[in-house]
Amino acid sequence: MKTKKRWFGGCLMVALCIFFYLPIVFMMVFSFNSSKSLTSFTGFSWKWYEQMFASHDMMDALYVTIIIALLATAISTIAGTITAIGMTYSKKLVRRYISQVNDLPMMNPEIVTAIGLMLLFITFRINRGFMTLLLAHVAFCIPYVILSVTPKLRSLDPNLADAAMDLGASPYRTLTQVIVPEIMPGIVSGALTAFTMSFDDFIISYFATGQGVKNLSIMVYTMAKRVNPSINAISTLIVLLITIILILINIVPALRKNIEKKRLEDPNYIPKPKKNGPKFLIGLIIVSLAAAGIYSIRPKQSSAQFAGQTLHLYLPGEYISDEMIANFEEMTGADVVIDNFDSNEQAYIKIANGESYDVIIPSDYMIERLIQKDYLQKLDPARVDAALVELDENTVGLSYDPLNEYSVPYFWGTVGIVYDKEQVSLEDLEREGWDIFADPKYRGNIYLYDSERDQFMSALKALGYSMNTADPAQLEEAYNYLVNIVETMDPEIVTDEIIDNMANARKALGLIYSGDATYVISENEQMGYYLPTQGTNIWVDGMCIPKNAQNVDLAYEFINYTAGYEAQMLNAEFVGYTPANLEAQNELAAEGGDYHGIDSFIPRSGFEMDETFNYNPDTRKLVADYWSRVKVAASNAK
């Protein structure tokens, strides 16, 4: 009976360990994969590590994570220890107040603490960035330090401090040489907890940061939608780092004990007096200050025009080439800090909250909205005209910014249907157009795109209306049309995940941006791109300078460089979108170009039913609300 039980427990334990370590091992193995695939190992390669070290974004995130963790640990350990000591000598009321307040972040869901801090920073107009991130981390780390130091203080003889002071020690000396050494184990374990909490934190950081300052968790969260094995590489690096730290923590004290034991057995050994200084803490502070110092002086060696300056760039994820950014940095000596958004709406909220960027790249209708709300600077024609001349004429002078006074086009394209030629016949597409998303033949085999504007476009076009309609009845009809699709067709509502999934032919069809389709087709020739004759959306994303930009000169420099041939070649080769720069566009589409023969690359022009999207403040809220209800209906239909 007993052995049988042990056997069962042992098996469970082994299974659990497999469960725990399988994903980690898997991740490490695939960080050496020679292809992008996450499912089949095609051969050994270091390329994702090379890409990781070359990626400015990833290295920055690594820096930020480590420095924030070190600083937050140092600050919260000191502050927490001091407070805990003070608490043991103060009134019961104060003690109770502190422990109640400390319970707030521990007893509440983390997201509540996070939005509380976000509201705090917004309400008091504190610009979110590195400082707010640090403040937030210190705020949630201190309670853990207090929690682990207090029990040690309680077991301390209350007369100890009095005795020391009676013997003539100053309060400071009493503190550092009598009390602190006694409670050292509590301080160390508090510091360790603080470090892990800070190093691992995602939710609070996500809401407390801004201006593109991100730690690893935030980076993984924003990048995870598109397969990027460099994430595996950086994760492997972290696993190694953590393992080394853990080994040091666990083994060094054990070794030291062993040595001491041997010495004690030696009759000739005279024990050294133990030093009582809080060595551990001092070490930690020195390390973190040094690290912070390295961080702050890092990129300032260049002698170029903008050396040492920073450009804050805000654009959709995976929308610009690392190589292009590196070239720009080398050319100007400036440092580019990139922040990404998931949707134009999300970008608008950040801008409206007063977050400051030098260059932003939103879509046409959002540029229109930002102009109306007076968030954008008028561009100086003398400084952008040279760039505008080189662009495809279809991308300039559109209704959202008729004279291009506020924006310089970056990428442009259409919205269409990506489909697997082996599963979907072109006849069906030609006959049904957008209605193919309601064709029961493809039930459970379609992707919708998580964007209110594009999904409503497809619905309105399918119903024969303008995508810019302001008629509530037509919008409601479109809403019901979409609800019907999510309730009967079992679609997957995705964003960028569609790219890898369609490149791997995981579903038959989906709504997609032309640039993503170009990438999908260049990866997998079995895929096609179709634009329904019911009409579609022709869109343009443009570079703009917000009113509160801090480095306008550098912003102009960036816009001019990025709109040019060389930069746009790099960007378009990297993401697959169509550059507004005509020369780059033609070269990529011509024979020998990366995207030769791919329909989606050159947007359809001159088609009567196609429209550009206009911003309409009256319908915006209605459509946003409708779309969130479609999504809720979709998840309730599962």
């Binding site: 427990g9 499912t39 502190i98 309730n636």
Partner: protein, 277 residues
């Protein structure tokens, strides 16, 4: 010791500003209408009314609670036997096993969750293994099971550690006494060991249930866009829609429900202890 008493003053100020004030702000924002400012506002209950009159939001809240409950039950069912097994091992082996369980916790949660995407996707390791057993074309990624796996994976260590620590604190002689008095091992377990480990179970439940209800990145990464939980709704209100007042109201509702549930659990625990004596 008057000298040291003053050491708490900075923290009293700091914690009021950084921990208490944010909570008050959430409550404040949840009670005013959107567009109001901190100096010019009007109290309203509209945000709460909106939540409770929309059956879709209520359904999502309900589903978040259910999935958190499922996670907690799974963690308990798997975690308890493991913790029990560990507590019966030799001291050295116990330390080793506990280290095996804590080690992954040191690695970023996002990173560990991200790793599951590759394992669960079509043609990935898990679906290949299921294929050997004749289960072909099982959709794993972007399903409820994926979300559940992700949650159990992330939160089960808390359960095991809590139960383990309460099991090891137990006085071994109690079990000897029970068996001397004629209790079978089964009886001894249910009458002695289990009741004494309840405090660990309770705090384990708290540590699993709380983050599971409000988690938003696990459903987002492993559930795709179609597995909306209450945490996602809150995130969406703050990050994409920009309706802080409504978002704050949802947070307050969620926090209150949690407090209520935790109070109930504690009460049950206290009663169990009383009856145990």
């Amino acid at each position: 010791m008057k000298t040291f008493k003053n050491l708490v003053i900075p923290y009293v100020i700091w914690s009021s500003l950084m921990l208490l004030l944010p909570m008050l702000l959430i409550v404040f924002y949840s009670l005013i209408s959107s567009g109001n400012t901190i100096v010019n506002f009007q109290f309203t209950l509209a945000n709460y009314v909106r939540f409770f009159t929309d059956k879709d939001f209520l359904l999502i809240l309900w589903r978040s609670l259910i999935i958190a409950l499922e996670t907690t039950v799974l963690c308990l069912l798997i975690g308890y036997p493991c913790a029990y097994y560990i507590s019966k091992c030799s001291k050295k082996k116990q330390n080793f096993l506990i280290m095996m369980i804590t080690l992954p916790m040191w690695i970023n949660m996002l990173v560990r969750t991200y790793a599951w995407i590759g394992l669960l996707s079509k043609g990935g390791l898990i679906s290949t293994i299921l294929g050997w057993f004749g289960l072909h074309d099982v959709e794993l990624l972007y399903t409820q099971s994926a979300v559940l796996i992700g949650m159990v994976y992330n939160f089960i260590p808390f359960m095991i550690l809590q139960i383990h620590s309460s099991l090891t604190k137990m006085d071994g002689s109690l079990l000897e006494a029970a068996s001397d008095l004629g209790a079978s091992p089964m009886e001894a377990f249910w009458k002695v060991t289990f009741p004494l480990s309840l405090p660990g179970v309770i705090s384990g439940i708290t540590l699993v249930f709380l983050p599971a209800v409000s988690s938003f990145f696990i459903p987002k990464l492993l559930g795709g866009g179609s597995w909306y939980l209450i945490g996602n709704v809150i995130e969406n209100q703050f990050i994409t829609v920009g309706e802080w007042n409504f978002g704050s109201a949802i947070s307050v509702i969620m926090a209150l429900i949690m407090m209520l549930l935790m109070a109930l659990v504690r009460k049950a625990d206290a009663r169990a202890k009383k009856e145990g004596v």
